[in-house]
Symmetry: C2
Subunit: 391 residues, 2 copies
């Protein structure tokens, strides 16, 4: 059996259009705040994994894991530093590599970070870069962008299950409401169903308020063996499961388009590892890059029957205090979506929830949490189950 692993420190920047901060600044802020939270000095970190989708295209900078180590001030230690890229699931995938590394026994104390600086290019360029997570030859070259791919998925879901624009809007409204109480969220304003429905159409049926923003941001966590975790904190959060699955890169190639098989397969593996069922999860951060993505996620994760995610959302079952609180942070929609950082940002939220440190957005009595991080239009899914108790 793999060696048990825990998280003993978390750090995050604010998410948003952070004009004043460079990629390097964001790395430094998130990394040092995770160290501070863990009460350790950088000298104790033995290796780093950095999740980043596309600094190459956004900033003409590859090799960013070495850059992160350098700007966090650890270059003189010559530690191993590795960048992981799984499109918008880069953060979750980076954490996963850090977990495998500690589980293997090669390392005892490592850092997983996620960073993206997206607002140094114009919106059109950003859309083109993001589309490079889709199938370039069979989707992007033909003009498909992420909003249009998710719009196709939404149309299919509507036709098949009767999901409505109001159902989709309800996810955005709930996430904006949650983000009010998240000081690091990109947007902290409340919105209404009407505002969503009257906002400009991006790719029918998705309005602009069905879409997450382009954000800058970074987050980091310190990972260690469960055995050593209490050296650093009284409230380690244990990794109960780490799972990842893939799918055909192009949406048209898939068995079905209103289900992400990557989510189904990864979550099945995660539940099995943790010996848990969907009903055991107390709080979950899902990958709502578009409102339809949240509907898919809560169905494919097994929280609601297929096709009922829209009504469940409209009926408040995913609110804080509902049957299964989804995205208490505000999710990607309101919390922000700095693509390579998002997977770690989700873990940051869940660790706060399980520690009982989430303030006004606290899910009462949360003992077991989940993160769900999607790459592209579903060709990658990374899932983690975290818990207050070691398994």
């Amino acid at each position: 059996m793999p060696r048990p692993v825990a998280i003993v420190g978390i750090g995050s920047t604010k998410m948003g259009e952070l004009w004043k901060y460079s990629f390097r600044d964001l790395a430094m802020k998130a990394g040092t705040s995770a160290l501070t939270d863990a009460g350790m000095s950088g000298n104790e970190i033995q290796a780093l994994w950095g999740g980043n989708m596309s600094a190459g295209q956004f900033l003409n900078q590859e090799h960013v894991a070495a850059l992160i180590v350098d700007y966090v001030g650890l270059a003189g230690l010559h530690i191993s530093a590795t960048r992981v890229e799984q499109a918008c699931a880069s953060g979750g995938a980076a954490l996963r590599e850090a977990i495998l590394a500690v589980a293997s026994g090669y390392y005892d104390i490592v850092m997983a970070a996620g960073i993206e600086k997206m607002t140094d290019v114009d919106g059109g360029t950003a859309a083109k870069i993001l589309a490079s997570a889709a199938d370039q030859e069979w989707e992007a070259l033909m003009g498909a962008t992420f909003p249009s791919l998710y719009a196709l998925i939404a149309r299919e879901h509507m036709q098949k299950f009767g999901t409505t624009s109001e159902h989709l809007a309800a996810a955005a409204v709930k996430n904006h409401r949650n983000a009010r109480n998240n000081p690091l969220a990109h947007f902290r304003n409340e919105i209404t169903i009407e505002q969503v429905l009257n906002s400009p159409m991006i790719s029918s049926p998705l309005h602009i308020l069905d879409c997450c923003p382009l954000s800058d941001g970074a987050a980091a966590v310190v990972v260690t063996s469960a055995e050593r975790a209490k050296e650093f904190t009284d409230t380690p959060i244990y990794i109960n499961a780490t799972a990842q699955a893939s799918d055909y890169l192009a949406v048209y190639d898939r068995r079905e388009i209103a289900t992400f098989d990557s989510t189904v397969v990864a979550s099945r593996s995660a539940y099995q590892q943790a010996k848990l069922e969907p009903k055991d999860i107390d709080v979950c951060e899902v990958h709502d890059c578009f409102t339809i993505a949240e509907i898919l996620a809560i169905e494919d994760l097994g929280f609601f029957d297929k096709g009922t995610g829209g009504t469940a959302t409209e009926e408040g079952e995913t609110e804080i205090g509902g049957r299964i609180p989804i995205n208490p942070s505000g999710g990607l929609k309101a919390g922000g979506h700095p693509v390579g950082a998002t997977g770690i940002k989700q873990v940051y939220e869940i660790v706060q929830q399980l520690r009982g440190e989430a303030g006004k957005r606290q899910v009462n009595g949360a003992e077991i949490g989940m993160t769900h991080n999607i790459g592209g239009s579903g060709a990658t899914c990374v899932i983690h189950i975290l818990s207050r108790e070691s398994s």
Copy 2:
């Protein structure tokens, strides 16, 4: 102690300007040939790590690990697929993640692949993309390219140790001679010292024949637990050590510029893991992106005293049949350098050497081999020690 790991299958494309083959074709060829070599079907692969430096910039395609799984024909299995990027050390880093994953016990049989398609853009664009592995803000923006950074390093080595242009040329001449017998090499022509010295100056003192080419290519290996290795092959090659180290991203920031501390630190860790010394290594593939890089490597790995790499090369100590055969494949210089694939290509060669299947370029009686894979101008070094015997 981490669980021991072995390589049971290898595959590689030819390296070169492969106009007829796309990124996808290369992935498919390398992946399927590694499976064939391991005598297994794709259904047995539980996860994949793909090393790639910059498909984002070369091809507007991120998320390439999902793409590889798709085009290798495994998308329907929904296995975990993760891209690793450490500039030109992406391949070595991908293998390392695969090793950690099997060592952890999470997986039993996985694939590590490296791929790069570099010749779909013009040379100037390629140079700019490659420079994104350097420090964009403090090196590349000021006009530094990889040849110029390595030229600085060469000048320092010359001034400090009396290394000459002839010493550098001797590495290129030897590597071209070795590549004659490597059917997959990019260049298979012999060259002379005079030809190197009379070839166009790229960045003084580096002539064009001191520089490796831009290559397309892919290579893949199948990794499993040492315990299960003999189920697949009579000649598993065991991983005795996997080590990785970083350094300041920008060359000017370093303690010293004619030594790669990343190589020194990673090799020290590797020797320690394997309980070996430099004299125990029978054959080594080093990262000779420029001739000076080979001189640095053979010193920093401990094969020769600092400053004597040039004379050792000139005197034939690194020839096949010499004291320590370096780059029997032809290295990066003649074998080719498809950046993200190089680290796996090196392992492909060493596995062939240790199996005794290297034909006319066989190092007699090779029992223990090493690979040395550099990212950027030395901010990353990945080292593996491989052996015929399990440790």
